[in-house]
């Protein structure tokens, strides 16, 4: 199922998510994260998008997963954060 969300991170930037997910398994099939935020290094966004594939669309699990990707790849976000990303992704299901 295809869905989109737009979420303005408090004190931060605008996140736009395009999500293709499996309704039965409640997992991410494909995700695209766009917006006017900053990420260092920039290529990290593609890593994040790839590593989120097959993740369970559930708050706690998703937040943990995003935190671990950020740590593993030493990603610095400005204007968005793991909480904002999680929220924007889950908004696609509403």
């Amino acid at each position: 199922m295809l869905s989109r969300s737009i979420y303005k991170v408090p004190q931060g930037k605008l996140l736009k998510i395009s999500l293709d997910y499996d309704e039965n398994k409640n997992t991410i099939h494909h995700i695209r994260i766009t917006g006017d935020f900053f990420a260092y290094p920039e290529e990290a966004i593609e890593i994040l998008e790839n590593e989120l594939k097959n993740s369970l669309l559930e708050q706690e699990n998703l937040l943990k997963k995003i935190h671990s990707i950020i740590t593993e790849h030493d990603i610095q976000f400005i204007g968005i954060d793991a909480e904002g990303l999680t929220r924007a992704i889950l908004m696609c299901k509403q």
């Binding site: 006017d36 900053f38 400005i78």
Partner: protein, 254 residues
């Protein structure tokens, strides 16, 4: 004697050349081939640049751009969509290891933006840094900035609005909700300003360049000495212009 940095006055170019030149300087400096560099430029034809993470088709009305003869290009820096028309654009390229540059990214934004604030002071204008990446005058945005860091080198570029046409801007950019478009335009008109608006009269590009040059010299305690792109940089810029910034693949990649 104070440290000397290179000043590049590259004048008016297309969006694709402008973005290619910034990237070429970034690469040349990271290879130790050129000194820290401050560049001033503008755009002809007018152009929309979008942030690295934005979707071109989400943000830009490509048909309207074609109709009005406005180019569009994806930047290598993050941040938002910008309509480059009557403005001064600057870029600074400097090593992350330079003692004047804070390691912390937000602090480095603030430091570089302060050069512009000092430049504005030369024009008699009181500007303030508004995190994350803006400079405001009387609470209204006059400058937007974006930074990338690659191979231990910083590229920050940004704009100073000489004049602004919000209606034109909104005929080129897409809005998430057409129903509230009029309200958004009214909103942006309240939140954005320009040198013309603040000063009450138009100001020439060269005068603003002179002020900003002084601002960078004051902030970083350096002398900006006018130079040119090296032949390596020029070759690299040509390559990036052709293979990257003017390519469909790059501009539509997200």
């Amino acid at each position: 004697m104070s440290e000397q940095w290179r000043l590049l006055l590259t004048g008016r170019n297309t969006a694709f050349v402008n973005m290619a030149v910034d990237r070429a300087i970034l690469v040349a400096h990271s290879q130790g081939k050129v000194p820290p560099s401050v560049r001033f430029y503008h755009w002809i034809p007018p152009a929309i640049s979008i942030g690295y993470f934005q979707s071109l088709t989400d943000e830009v009305d490509v048909d309207a751009c074609k109709k009005f003869g406005v180019d569009y290009v994806r930047r290598i820096t993050g941040g938002g969509a910008v309509f480059h028309d009557r403005e001064l654009t600057y870029s600074i390229v400097i090593s992350e290891a330079h003692p004047s540059i804070p390691k912390n990214i937000l602090q480095s934004y603030a430091r570089i933006c302060n050069a512009l604030i000092l430049g504005l002071q030369w024009l008699g204008i009181q500007g303030t840094y508004a995190p994350i990446n803006d400079i405001v005058v009387n609470g209204r945005k006059i400058s937007g900035n974006a930074q990338t860091r690659k191979t231990n080198t910083i590229l920050q570029h940004g704009t100073i609005l000489l004049d602004v046409d919000v209606d034109m801007m909104f005929s080129l950019l897409k809005v998430p909700n057409e129903k509230i478009k009029d309200k958004m335009i009214a909103d942006v008109k309240q939140r954005v300003t320009s040198l013309k608006h603040v000063l009450g009269h138009t100001i020439g590009y060269k005068q603003v360049v002179a002020a900003m040059k002084a601002g960078f010299e004051d902030e970083f305690h350096v002398k900006l000495v006018e130079g040119t792109l090296t032949s390596d940089e020029a070759i690299l810029a040509k390559k990036y212009e052709k293979e990257c910034f003017s390519s469909h693949q790059w501009n539509y990649r997200r």
